[in-house]
Symmetry: C3
Subunit: 175 residues, 3 copies
């Protein structure tokens, strides 16, 4: 049975480490789906740090845009960890793609997966409204994407200081 | 018996949709109290999107400043949804009004309401300290306002990816 | 037995007031360890507001950099409240100190304390990525520090609208 887990949080809230730890409780083989396009040294350093932390159970594939196709191709290879959804969104928006269609297609495809999928995303909307219109558009798109994927996910966690706070399912919190 | 529910969260965290859903569990008739002053196209689009989502149970009143008076006038008309408190604060500050007095008066009036009130507010303080002094003042005022209204509320929820995380009452989390 | 409590949250989320309230449930005498370097009027005002709120149980010591030494010297004087860790980090970074060493040393020293320590920190990573490289570095360092101290803490709370949301320990949220 498929299972989708979404882990969200602010920058350096420990989302990726939590996602990796959680992924390895779901399968012994794992595929790391990197959405980052390595465009500068700061990004390269971040990717290298993440790779160094992962062990031999992991193989890495890159999917800056073709996330859906990559999920289909790797279904049967073990748990997939998508890191992260906000970079994928950024790649879609910068490339002039229809991000809303892509997000809806992803949400629709998740329940069809046989192997589990752990998805890392970011909280970017809890600061002051950005003066930059592009930043506002990105912030809005990120939030909408997170809502759509969370609705399709079986479990949702908010990472706080490296610790997981369960948001879904959570009977205690239901209206 | 009156009941006040506060729903907070970042931009596009699904606060308004959660608030609308929750409001309709409390009464069959609902009043949408919009605090937005429609000053540009971006805002007009956002207001239109929110209105399109609401059904026939709703009537809309505008209260960019006179929130307290509007709550008094609509008491007896069903559940009231205030969307949102941070825009009201912004209108108060930009208009040179005493926002602290206004917030305290609102907090004092909430328990006197006969019909329930669902209030949407925003988390704006979890980013980097803004360089702009006005943005810092607004951020501080928002946080103080949220604390004052949360203290007067019966229930407080944090919206994360469109999902409600109960903050109050929450025995499990009490010190 | 020692006990470390970490309280995090956005600006004006009520962290300090929660920390003070919690500290006085742990001991009748309390030491307020202020990490702020008072460099401008805005900061002076903030410090004065915080001091005015505290009662006679409190004495105040200043530790803009020498936090570890201050914790050792005040062990035996009652509960210590460190307010706040992010200002201490900022002082370390601006002074050209090795903040990673300092944070690791603090994490190692916390379990050795006899009297309890309540630590206030900040969430600064849930907004849009800052354009400023220094702000990005500070945001990353803050998040990493929070993870390290949270791992060493017995309890971790997220302040939301002045209310505590327990993050650790929290069986319900464990993976």
């Amino acid at each position: 049975m498929s299972k989708t887990i979404l882990i969200t949080g602010g920058a350096r809230s420990g989302k990726s480490a939590l996602a990796e730890r959680h992924a390895l409780t779901l399968a012994s083989q794992a595929v790391y789906i990197a959405t980052a396009e390595v465009r500068d040294d700061e990004m390269a350093e971040r990717v290298a740090l993440h790779q160094a932390r992962r062990g031999d159970e992991w193989r890495t594939v890159h999917a800056p845009l073709n996330l859906l196709e990559t999920l289909r191709k790797t279904d049967g290879c073990g748990v997939r960890l998508v890191d992260c959804l906000t970079l994928w969104l950024s790649n879609l928006m910068l490339g002039g793609h229809d991000w809303q269609d892509a997000v809806q297609a992803l949400a629709a495809a998740l329940p069809e997966q046989r192997d589990p999928v752990v998805i890392v995303t970011n909280e970017v909307g809890a600061g002051i409204v950005p003066e930059n219109a592009l930043a506002r558009a990105y912030r809005d798109a990120s939030g909408l994407m997170n809502q759509i994927i969370a609705a399709a996910a079986d479990e949702v966690y908010l990472a706080v200081c490296g610790l997981p706070l369960k948001v879904k399912p959570n009977e205690q919190h239901a209206f």
